[in-house]
């Protein structure tokens, strides 16, 4: 049960965002920019980084929510998400993305854990300054999101069939206040 009185019909971070819409706005904007920009990092790449950091932080809700969103962008292929949780080095992702995962995992441990070698390695695999910037900030942002969700003991849906429904909603409409203001997606 959440530590504070929130709408328990809303899952995970959605109930917390609804509790405090003032902070929900910049949090939603941050997620939208970081996860829905598509440049030399695809939306799938960005969601995979978020999934991996949430996995490292042992945040079930974020891990599975973003894992399903990544899966949507990968046309339903769940094997990549499952592989990165086991060992990203052996997942079928590009060497560049692997080098960015290395940076993200260091950020998860702490900002100072990122070494010049990690950055150099990413550059050698073709990462741009912007790719590196966004990777660091996505990883850092999920160190916030994960702590927000678990620190307030938010509701974690156990019914795994609900995660793809919410994922589809995000893929179609993006992040923002609609995720707690509109009715939650239901099974067809």
């Amino acid at each position: 049960m959440p530590y504070i009185l929130v709408d328990e019909k809303l899952p995970g971070i959605r109930a917390l965002l609804a509790f405090r819409p003032e902070t929900a706005a910049p949090i939603g904007a941050l997620a939208e920019i970081l996860l829905r920009t598509s440049d030399s990092l695809s939306k799938a790449d960005r969601e995979l980084i978020a999934t991996y950091v949430s996995h490292l932080n042992d945040c079930f809700y974020c891990n599975h929510s973003h894992g399903e969103i990544a899966t949507c962008y990968l046309n339903g292929d769940r094997s990549v998400v499952e592989a990165i949780r086991k060992n990203y080095q052996e997942a079928s992702i590009s060497d560049k993305l692997k080098s960015l995962f290395q940076i993200a995992s260091k950020v998860q441990q702490g900002g100072k854990c990122v070494r010049a070698e990690d950055i150099e390695n990413a550059r050698q695999q073709g990462a741009t300054d912007r790719d590196i910037h966004d990777t660091v900030l996505i990883a850092a942002a999920f160190c916030m999101m994960n702590r927000y969700v678990d620190g307030l003991n938010a509701v974690t849906p156990q019914d795994m069939t609900t995660y793809p429904l919410r994922a589809k909603q995000i893929v179609e409409k993006g992040y923002g206040n609609h995720i707690f203001l509109q009715p939650q997606p239901d099974k067809a």
Binding site: Y3, I4, L5, L16, F19, R20, E22, T23, A25, P26, I27, A29, L30, I33, L34, N57, D58, C59, I103, K106, V107, G110, G111, K112, V114, A116, I119, D129, R130, I132, H133, D134, V136, L137, A139, A140, A141, C143, M144, M145, N146, R147, Y148, V149, D150, G151, L152, N153
Partner: protein, 183 residues
């Protein structure tokens, strides 16, 4: 030196915020609401103190000194008082309620799951509202982001402590607006 070319020489978080203004605006807006907005039953000093404490736990020099100076400005106290809160808040001369919120913030810094029901009950017994507990958790979580952003990109920080003290009054006046970044 920063790991990437930020195309500006601003210190700390201001460098990457100006480098990527889209995310910079969202981050500033979050800081503004959590730390500066007056519509809050937690004082600005207490909220900055929580930010400074979490930054000290994360060993983030820039954020720790910026937000320690902010807390010092609002509290109208001296630097040793702020240092004492960061070093051992349990024996510092602050309210029991703030102590209970700093305990929650310390757990958030370790990881979301480290916050215990006992800590929450203690804060509520001492008068903390749900909204105050929410903001404490989110401030602590947000600093786990800000600190990683600043150090993960290896940004530079002024070493002269007086710089932080001198800037605090201006920041308190202007708040965390995007336009204040380049001042």
């Amino acid at each position: 030196m920063a790991y990437i070319d930020l195309q500006n020489d601003l210190p700390g978080i201001r460098g990457p915020m100006v480098y990527r203004p889209e995310t910079g605006a969202a981050l500033n807006e979050l800081a503004e609401i959590l730390l500066h907005d007056e519509n809050n039953t937690l004082s600005r000093g207490d909220r900055e103190m929580i930010g400074a404490y979490v930054s000290s736990l994360n060993d983030c020099f820039f954020c720790e000194n910026v937000h320690s100076a902010m807390a010092q400005h609002y509290y109208q106290c001296d630097t040793p008082f702020i240092d004492e809160v960061k070093t051992d808040f349990t024996s510092a001369d602050i309210s029991d309620k703030l102590k209970s919120l700093l305990a929650i913030a310390g757990s958030v810094q370790l990881g979301g799951k480290q916050v215990t029901e006992t800590q929450i009950d203690r804060a509520k017994t001492l008068g903390a509202t749900d909204r105050e507990i929410h903001d404490t958790v989110l401030i602590a979580a947000a600093f786990c982001m800000f600190n990683r952003y600043v150090d993960g990109l290896n940004t530079w920080a002024p070493q002269d402590m007086q710089v932080y003290i001198d800037r605090a009054a201006m920041r308190a006046e202007d708040g965390y607006s995007q336009s204040g970044l380049v001042k």
